[in-house]
Amino acid sequence: MNRILIIGEHADGKLNAATARCVTAAKDIGGQIDIAIFAAEPDAPAAQAAMLDGVTRVRTVTHAANAHALGALLAPQIVALADDYSHLLAPSTTFGKDLLPRVAALLGVSQVSDVMTVTDSHTFERPIYAGNAIITVQCAPEHKVVATIRGASYPATAAGSATAPIEAAAITVELPTHTRFIELKASASDRPDLQTAARVVSGGRALGSAQKFDLIYQLADKIGAAVGASRAAVDAGYAPNDMQVGQTGKIIAPELYVAIGISGAIQHLTGIKDAGTIVAINKDAEAPIFEIADYGLVGDLFKLVPELEQALG
C-alpha cells in the first residue's frame, strides 16, 4: 500500500489551503495519507489538518527553528520521517518549490514538479514549456516518489466526518546553522488571497501607473475579488511581486477571472487557463487574451472599468 506524507504549509497558526489541495491529489494516488506539521507551535495548524477528509494521521514536529519555514532546516527533518513513506508531497507554492527539491536530493531521487494529473501511483502528468506541452512522467517503483502538487489542478479537500489522530513525531537531527530568517514583509491586505479566491481581477501594463492601478482594486473590492497582475505590470512597478499571475508567478484557478489591459502573453495565460470563466477587457481586438476569454470586450479600460464598477453596484 502507498504511504503518503504531505508536508503541511501554514503561517500564523493557519493551515494554507494548498495543503488541502495536496490531500485531494493524494487521494488519487491512494493509500495512507499523513500530514506533517513542522512548527514552533503546531497545535492550531495540526488540528486543522486533522479535520481534512481522508487524512489518516497528523504528525507534528515541534522546534523553535521551525517558527519560519526555511527549506534548508526543514529538509533534514523531513528526511528523518521519510523512511515510513512511499510518497512525499508538498504544494507547488514558493514554500514547496523551495523545500521539496532539497528533500529529493537528500534522498537521492528525482522530483516530479507541478503534478496536474495522477494517472496511477507512479505515473503523473505535468506541464512543461509554460504549459504548452503536457508530459506523462513514469517514476521507477523502487524509488520514493517526491512531488509538488499544482494547486490549480485540484480542489481543496473539505473537512470530513472524522478527526485524524495527532501524534508528536520524535526525531533527532542536527539542524544546519547556515541559514537565518530575518523578516517577512507581507503585503497587508483585507482582500481575498490570490491563490484561493473565487474571483480575481487582474491588471496589465495598459493601466499605465501604480496610481491608475487603483481602478483594479476598486473593481475587485466591488465584487469581493482578489487582485492579480501581469508580469509587465509588476515589472513596471504598478503592483507588488506577490500579485504576479503566470508561468513564473502564481498559477490560479478562480471561478471568475477578469483580465484588464492584459494582452495575454503565453506566460500569463499559463497562470489562468484553469479558471472557470475568463473575462477580458482590452483596447486591442487582436490581443491573444481574447483567444481564451469566455467574454471579451474591446475598448478603453479607463472608460469601461468605471462603467463596469457602476453597473455592478
Binding site: P101, A133, I134, T179, I278, L312
Partner: protein, 249 residues
Amino acid sequence: MKILVAYKRVVDYNVRIQVKADGSGVVTDGVKLSPNPFDDIALEEALRLRDKGIASEVIIATIAPADAQAHLRNGLAMGANRALHVVVDRAPSPLTAARVFLKLIEKEQPDLVILGKQAIDDDAGQTGQMLAALWNKAQATFASKIEIDGAKATVTREVDSGLETIEVDLPAVITTDLRLNEPRFIKLPEIMKAKSKPMETIAFDSLGIEAADHQKVTHHAPPAKRSRGVMVKDVAELVTALRNKGLVK
C-alpha cells in the same frame, strides 16, 4: 571571491512550442535557442558583483550537447571570465545536473553559485535546491535582492505572501527571480573579445557521476484548449452574461 553561474540554453521565450504528432516530444528542430532568461539574470548579478569589486572571477557553466559553444560565447561576451562546457548527448535530469555542478564546485571552489530559479523549458525548478542539498550549504531561492557582506549574504526572496529576507553563510547557492536585475545588452567589441576567452570542455563520462534516471517521460501532449468565447458589445451585455452565470450579483 569566485562565482559560478549556471547558464542553460533553452528554446527562446517567444517560440510557440508545438508538440510532435506522435507524442514523442516537442519540435525543437530549427527553433531559436537562447540563454534561459533566469540564467541571464544570474550572470548579470554575478557581473555586477564583479563590477563592485566583490567578486574577482565569474565562471559560466552549461551541461549541453557539443554544439552549445556559441551559447557559451554569448555568456562570455556578456562578461563572464571563462566557461565550462560539460558535454552530454541528452538533457540531464535536475538531480543529474546538480551532481554535475557539485563536481564543478569541487574543481573550482566558488564562494557563491547562482542559478536561475527555473529553466523555461522543463519548468522543473529543482537544480539549485538539489545542488545546495548535495553541497550541504545554504540556499536562497527566488532572489530579488542580494547583498554580500564578507562571508554572509543577505537575500530578499519573492515568496507567495510577499518579500522574505534571510541571511546565509557563504559559500551558498542562490537562485534568481525576475526582478533581481535587468541583464545588460552585449556590445559588439565584447563579442570579439569573447572569442579569445577560455572555454573548457569536459566529457560527462569523465566526471564519474551516476545519472539519476528515476523518471521516464512516456508521452507529450498538447494542453487542453480553452475555446474562444463570445465578444460582448458593451458593459451591460457583459454584466447580464455574468449575472446569468451567477458569477456576480
